[in-house]
């Protein structure tokens, strides 16, 4: 029997661990008060309260998702549980993707263009104002741009006129990498959703 004296159960947050910076997300989740779990098999989805899809190469992740028959299980998970996607994860969570077009889970009503700022030399770090969080350092690496925002989507932060941190229902997406800074406020926002 586990000891259930005073503190409530910490939410268990899965990180899709196929390719990308999933270890950085696991650290950020722990800092934000969650318990992290690496997820790369469908049967593990039953053990988690929410899922983070990390940064990395979205097309590479899609190949692995396809080879391992994970597409439907992940999409089904997202239809009832919260999912947070950063960069590549924001691409996978979107309704439609261009440059080039590719499959996605259609969990948020956003349209995303891959590698929209250019190549690595166009990667950059900026300070942003985010609703409910104040100033944030945002690291953009070969980042996508959210070109279309549906009417149900709430924009929490923008950069050069484009939405970069958005929520819709249970889900969140960021085109930058909060996991690459020591600041865990964005992850805390997600972990707190799982406590509701």
């Amino acid at each position: 029997m586990s000891d259930s004296t005073s503190s409530p159960r910490k939410p268990v947050v899965g990180v899709l661990a196929l390719q990308g910076d999933y270890e950085a997300h696991a650290r950020a989740i722990e800092h934000a008060g969650g318990l992290s779990r690496e997820i790369n098999r469908a049967d593990q989805l039953a053990e988690i309260d929410g899922l983070v899809i990390p940064g990395g190469e979205s097309s590479t992740m899609l190949k692995l998702i396809d080879y391992e028959n994970l597409f439907e299980p992940l999409k089904t998970f997202g239809q009832s549980k919260p999912v947070f996607g950063t960069c590549a994860g924001a691409i996978l969570i979107a309704r439609d993707v261009i440059n080039p077009s590719q499959a996605s889970f259609d969990l948020m009503d956003i349209g995303v263009e891959r590698n929209a700022y250019g190549r690595q030399r166009d990667s950059h770090i900026v300070a942003l104002q985010a609703e409910g969080l104040g100033e944030l350092e945002a690291v953009f690496i070969r980042a996508p741009i959210i070109r279309r925002v549906g009417s149900e989507v709430k924009v929490l932060a923008s950069h050069r006129g484009d939405a970069v941190l958005v929520t819709q229902g249970l889900h969140m997406a960021a085109t930058f990498h909060p996991e690459l800074t020591a600041d865990s406020r964005v992850h805390r926002m997600f972990v707190e959703r799982l406590n509701r």
Binding site: Q19, D21, G56, K63, I125, R142, H177
Partner: protein
């Protein structure tokens, strides 16, 4: 101060891209057609080079940066990051690759060195660099010059994983040893490793490199890829193996699978089963000393 190198905004962006490549496979390609196959098979990046290492080994002569037209065509063909190799110390090849807009430069011992003493000063480039290393001192010298990713050298084009294992184990062991030293013992460690003091101090405190540590040189089967991951590699570079095999796409997919699922022996078994045969390997001890690529650079 290296504290400021590691905190520098450009350096963080360079390391950031290396972070995004973790858990994946970076594949050597010599043309756009191969790049397309690599991308389709699940590569997280491709490395453009003039010939794969086993052909460089076979054909001899001077191996240089790839023709620009080939790299440009690769960049226009795939959406994943494109890396390209320049010769050790050839800072002009590096500037050309930077101007072209490649995502990463590999200052590589696989090409014929342009400078037998000096490596490129990589700090004032906007494009990130990866460099090879056989031991901790070499890794930290390259990071001191501005490399944002280290890969163990292994012995490229040999199809033999023994050198990759030796280099990965050496770096891991040397890092672990540093964590047991007192602070007043670190200067002599810097002297022994011939590495910048501030980076020795950083490794002593954290027990790992301040940049991602990938593995290269001699990975020829899915089990080889899982082995180097288990020894501490964060990503695998695969060179000659893929496009020297009879079925490149199948081979590439099997390596990708074994790299992702290295902790899961059943998945490595599946990957191994999908692959009939690895490339024919060379006994590293039989390669003449002056033909070893790992000993290029210092």
């Amino acid at each position: 101060m290296f504290g400021s190198l590691l905190q520098d905004e450009q350096f963080r962006l360079k390391v950031g891209l290396a972070e995004m490549l973790k858990g994946g496979v970076i594949m050597d390609v010599v043309n756009a057609q191969q790049a397309q196959i690599a991308e389709r098979s699940g590569a997280c990046a491709v490395m453009a080079l003039v010939k794969v290492p086993s052909d460089i080994r076979k054909d001899g002569g001077v191996a240089r940066m790839s023709p620009i037209s080939v790299i440009r065509e690769i960049m226009n063909t795939v959406s994943i990051p494109v890396m390209a190799k320049c010769r050790i110390g050839h800072f002009i090849e590096a500037r050309v690759l930077e101007a072209l807009g490649v995502d990463y430069i590999d200052e590589s011992e696989v090409l014929t060195p342009a400078d037998e003493e000096n490596h490129v000063d990589k700090r004032d480039f906007k494009v990130p660099f990866v460099c090879g290393a056989r031991n901790l001192g070499e890794a930290l010298r390259r990071i001191g010059e501005g490399a944002a990713m280290i890969r163990t050298k292994g012995e490229a084009g040999s199809g033999n994983v023994v050198e990759a294992v030796r280099h990965m184990r050496t770096i891991q062991r040397e890092m672990k040893a540093l964590t047991m030293l007192r602070s007043d013992e670190l200067m002599v460690a810097a002297k022994t490793h011939q590495a910048p003091f501030e980076l020795i101090e950083w490794v002593s405190k954290h027990g790992k490199l301040p940049v991602p540590n990938f593995s290269a040189g001699g990975v020829a089967t899915p089990a080889d890829a899982a082995l180097v991951m288990a020894l501490g590699a964060e990503t695998v570079f695969v060179g000659s193996g893929i496009f020297k095999s009879d079925e490149p796409e199948k081979f590439a997919r099997a390596i990708v699978k074994a790299t992702t699922y290295w902790k899961d022996a059943e998945k490595v078994l599946e990957a191994s089963e999908e692959l009939p045969d690895g490339m024919k390997g060379l006994d590293v001890s039989k390669i003449p000393l002056d033909e070893l690529m790992a000993t290029r650079g210092w």
